[in-house]
């Protein structure tokens, strides 16, 4: 049962990696700036999920703290870029 769970985690991580490449394509192609910001926000959420999976695949329990910090940093980056688009400055 544990081995089956580990295999499910690996398959889920591989699927999420393929999704991240599609999001990266939208972030490169995307005709406008808000498209790119939305795609990068999505990549941030998927990266948090992948770090949480790595915690259970390799049994590194401290990776959960890294996932927490990554979620915070992704949110602050998105807010910063959106505010820069809206006001033209970050003051």
């Amino acid at each position: 049962m544990e081995d089956f769970a580990q295999n499910v985690h690996l398959v889920a991580v591989i699927l999420i990696l393929v999704m991240i490449f599609f999001c990266l394509g939208r972030a490169i192609v995307g005709p406008t700036a808000p498209d790119r910001v939305a795609a990068i926000n999505m990549i941030g959420v998927k990266a948090v999920v992948i770090i949480a999976f790595i915690t259970f695949i390799f049994d590194y329990l401290y990776y959960l703290d890294i996932a927490m910090v990554y979620a915070l940093m992704s949110f602050i980056a998105t807010i910063g870029v959106a505010k820069y688009m809206e006001k033209g400055a970050l003051d």
Binding site: C23, P31, P34, D35, V37, A38, V49, A71, I79
Partner: protein
């Protein structure tokens, strides 16, 4: 023993559903025509899918790790709609108009006069 098997089955079901929702969000991001519809697709699917995967992983963790995972899930549930709202507000103020009618996807969403 029975409870361990039941918790692992619940966990794997939640993980499968969460990965499905993340995939649906990516399909919406790639195929929909402009910024607002893309945000509409990605925000809800990402919030739901990420939360489901994290809660599903919490079913097979020890209590402290489960608490951390639930904290991350609640944080994503709060911040992801906030970020989408800020992006949509910024693009509306900047002047990007939504696609209406039969416009093709790559041309839509450009600023108008």
């Amino acid at each position: 023993m029975v409870w361990e098997i039941i918790s692992i089955v619940i966990s794997l079901a939640l993980i499968t559903g969460g990965v499905f929702f993340l995939g649906v969000g990516v399909v919406g991001l790639v195929r929909l025509p402009d910024v607002y519809t893309r945000l509409h697709a990605t925000t809800k699917c990402d919030t739901m899918g990420g939360g489901m995967v994290l809660i599903g992983l919490a079913f097979q963790a020890d209590p402290i790790s489960a608490l951390k995972l639930v904290f991350i899930a609640v944080f994503i549930w709060i911040t992801n709609p906030t970020a989408a709202h800020v992006i949509a507000k910024a693009s509306w103020i900047t002047g990007f108009m939504p696609v209406q009618g039969e416009q093709k996807s790559q041309k839509g969403g450009m600023p108008v006069e």
